[in-house]
Point group: C2
Amino acid sequence: MSNDKQFVTEITPQSEDFSRWYIDTIKKADLMDYSPVRGCIVFKPDGYEIWEHIQEEMDRRFKETGHRNAYFPMFIPESFFQKEKEHVEGFNPELPWVTEAGGEKLEERLAIRPTSETIFGHMYSKWIQSYRDLPVMINQWANVVRWEKRTMPFLRTSEFLWQEGHTAHETEEEARQETMQMLEVYREVVENVLAIPVIKGQKTKSEKFAGAVDTFSIEAMMKDGRAVQAGTSHYMGTNFAKAFEIQYLNRENTLEYAHTTSWGTSTRLIGAMIMVHGDDRGLALPPKVAPTQVIMIPIGPPKTRDQVVGRADELYAELKKAGIRVKMDDRSDVRPGWKFNEYEMRGVPVRLEIGPRDMENGVCVLVSRISGEKKVVQQADLVEEIKAMLEQVQNEMFERAQNFMKDNFYSVNTIDEMKELMEEKRGFSLAGWCGSDACEDKVKEVTGATSRNIPFEPAEEKHTCLVCGQKAEHTVVFARAY
Amino acid sequence: MSNDKQFVTEITPQSEDFSRWYIDTIKKADLMDYSPVRGCIVFKPDGYEIWEHIQEEMDRRFKETGHRNAYFPMFIPESFFQKEKEHVEGFNPELPWVTEAGGEKLEERLAIRPTSETIFGHMYSKWIQSYRDLPVMINQWANVVRWEKRTMPFLRTSEFLWQEGHTAHETEEEARQETMQMLEVYREVVENVLAIPVIKGQKTKSEKFAGAVDTFSIEAMMKDGRAVQAGTSHYMGTNFAKAFEIQYLNRENTLEYAHTTSWGTSTRLIGAMIMVHGDDRGLALPPKVAPTQVIMIPIGPPKTRDQVVGRADELYAELKKAGIRVKMDDRSDVRPGWKFNEYEMRGVPVRLEIGPRDMENGVCVLVSRISGEKKVVQQADLVEEIKAMLEQVQNEMFERAQNFMKDNFYSVNTIDEMKELMEEKRGFSLAGWCGSDACEDKVKEVTGATSRNIPFEPAEEKHTCLVCGQKAEHTVVFARAY
C-alpha cells in the first residue's frame, strides 16, 4: 500500500535522527506548536490532556498523603533571592525580570518564579510559630519560567507547568521521611501511570538543587539512551528556614528552625513519555494518560455502511458509558488504511475495527498499538475485553521500556570504557566514583555524560573510581542527559 | 457565655463597616494572606480548595459543551497588543513588562498576559485554513495579571487565577450562539453551585470588553448592595480575526474572516460568594464548594469521652466513604461552645454533634450553619440525612440571596431618586436610559453607580431616560460596583 508507506515516512526514523523523529512526532500528533515567544510552546489539547491525566493521578496521591493545594504569587521580589546564597547563584542566570508595571518603573525588580522556595519560606515564617503549627504540607500547581538557552518542546521550555510541594517539619527525621515519601509517590506514578521505569537515587553534590542539603531523583532512559530526570525531591535541612526565619517554639518551649523539603515534577514528563514509548510509526501513549484510549473504525463496502455505523454507534455509547475514552472515525471519504496509520501515529492504544461480517457474527476486532496483536472479541463482552486490552497494553509498555533499560545499562570500570560506550551506544553506565568534583568533571569532559544519581539499589557495587582508580565512595549512574 | 461572645466580636459587624467585616472574615477563616508583592495574595488551602471545586464544576460543563483545555504562553510580545486598537487602549495601563531575561535586555518587551485574545488570535491564524478546521473551541486555566491601583483580596488582585475560553466560528450566528451558551453555563454554575442569584444581560458600550462587539455579563448583589460582575462572555465579531488574520476558505472556496468569542470567570467568584452569604458570625459556604461540608464534634463529660469518640470515628468513616467532605474535631482541651463558633466562623455548612445520650439512643444532632436549625437524626440514616441537609442548606442559601436581591432592587425614574437610594441603601436600580454616553457618565458622576447591564429579562420596561428624560433606548441596571 504505497499510500500508507508514504504517510509513515513523513516521520524521520529514530535511527536516522532521534531529535528530528521527536519533533516530527509531536508536531504530527498535534501535541504542541511553537509560540512567538522564544522557548515557549503552546500545549495543544491532545498534549495538554496528557498533562491533565498526570495531574489527576499525582494530585490524588498528594492529597492521600496529607497535602493540600494552595497558590502563591508568581512574582518574587529581587531581595528574596539574595537570602539563600546557593539558591541565588543557581537560579539568577535564568530569571526573567519585571521592571515596569502599570506605567511606572518598579522600585524593586520582580523575578518571575523559577521555583518558589523563597516566597513559601517568607510566608511559612509568618504562619509557623509553634510545634503545633507543624507540619505544614502544601503543594502548588503553577507555571514557572527558566530562561533557557537551548530549548526542546516539553523537555526544556522557558515557561513550563509543574507542581511544587513545600513542607516544613519539626525534625530532620520527619522532613527526610517526607522527602522519601514524595520520591516514592513520583516513582509509583511515573512507573504505573506513564509506564516509565526509573532509577531512584541521590544526586551528587554538584547536581543537587541550589540550596538543598540532599537532592533525590528518579531517572528515566529515553530510546536514544539519554537520561531524563523525571522528578526530584529535596531535603533542605534548615537552609531556607535560616534564610527566611522559619522558627518555632518546640515542645520544650525553645526556639528552633524548621526542617523543610520541596519536590517537583513538570510537563517534561510528557516529553519523557514520548521518547520512552514512541517508535517509527509515531507516538505510543500509555492508556492511563491517553486522551483517546480507543479509536473505533467501521469498515466495509458502501452498501453495508449505514448498518455497520449504526451498530458501531451503539457500541460507542456503551464504551463511553463505561468511562472509556473512546472516539469514532466514521468518515467515508478516507480509507481505513489511512485511518489506521493516522491513529497509530497519534499513539491511540487500542483500535477497534468493525465490518459487516463482524456484525453478523456479533464480534469485532481489537488491535494493540504496541504489539500489533489482533484479537477477535464478542461484542457482548466488549467493555471487559477493552479494559483488559488497555491494561495489557499498559503493562506491555512498561515491560518493553524496562527491557530496553536493562539492555542499555552497562557496568564500566574505566573512563575509556565509558567514552567508547557513550560514543557507540549511549545508555546508562554504572561506575565507581571517588567522590571528588575533579573526577566527576573529568567524566563530563571526556564522555559527555553527567552523574545521574547514586542509585539506592545499584545493580552491583563498584569499588574503584573510574577516573582516578582510588577507592570508590559511591556507585553512580552516568549518562548523557536531556 | 462571655468567652463565645468575645470570640464573635473579633469580626467587625457588617452594618458597622462592610469592608472591614470582609477582611476580618477571610483572615479569620484562613482563606488567604497578603503577600510581599503589592496587590498579590496567597490563596491558602481553604481558599484555594473553594477554587478547586469551582474549577471541577466549570470544567466538566466546558467539556460537555465541546471545549478542550490547552495552555498558551503567559508572555505576549508588545507588538501583539498594537494590532487591535481598542484592546491595547483598554489593557495597556495595567500591563507589567518583562524587559530583561537570562541576563540580557530583551529586544522586544514582553507583557504578562492580562487576557489572551492576542496570542490565541496569533495561533488560530496558523491553525485555521478551511471551514473544515472550524469551530475551534479551547479553554485555558491560567494566572493573569492586571496591575491594579486599588486591590481587594479575591475581588481585585494584581495576579489572579481564571479560565478564559476562546473560540472561532464560521458564522456570526454560530459565534453568537456560543457567546450565549457560555453565559448560560456561567449563570447555571454561579446560581446552582455558588448559590448566587445573578442578572443576565448585555453590557453598555462604555462597559464592554476592549475589542469586543458585544459583551454580556452576569451581575451579582453583595450584602452591602454593591454589584460584582461574576462572569463575562464576549462576541468579538471579526475584530480579532482581522487584527490577527484568522481567515479560512469557506464552503464556496472564498476567503473569509472567522467570528470569534471569548469568555471568562475568575477567583473573584470566591470574593463574591463570601460577600453574598457571609454574616456577622463569619463565613457561610455553599455545601457544593465547602472544603469541609460537615464538622463532627463529640461532646459530653470526660468519663464517656472514649466511647463517644469511638462511635464518632465509625460515623466519620461512613460519611467519608459516602464521599462527604467531613472533618472531626475531637480535641479535649477546647470547649464545644468554642468549637461551634470556630466552625460557624469558617462557614462549615453542617455541624454534627454527638454526646453520650445520643449514643444510647442511636441518634445524633445536625445543625445548619445558615438557619441554625437543629435536627435529631437516626445514626442508621446518617448519610442520607446529611445529604438531605446539605442540599437544604444549598437551596436555602440561594433563596435567601434571591430574597435579599429582590428586597434591594429598586425601580427609579430620575437621577435624583437614584442618588438618594445610592446614598441611603445602595442596591440595584432599574432605570431607563437614552443610550448616550453623556447621560451614562452623569449617572456615575452624581450617584457613584455604573451601568451593570441591560438585563435580558428586566423586572419592568422603562420608557424615559433617568437623566435627560428623552425616550429610553434601554432599561438598565445601575449599581455601585466592586
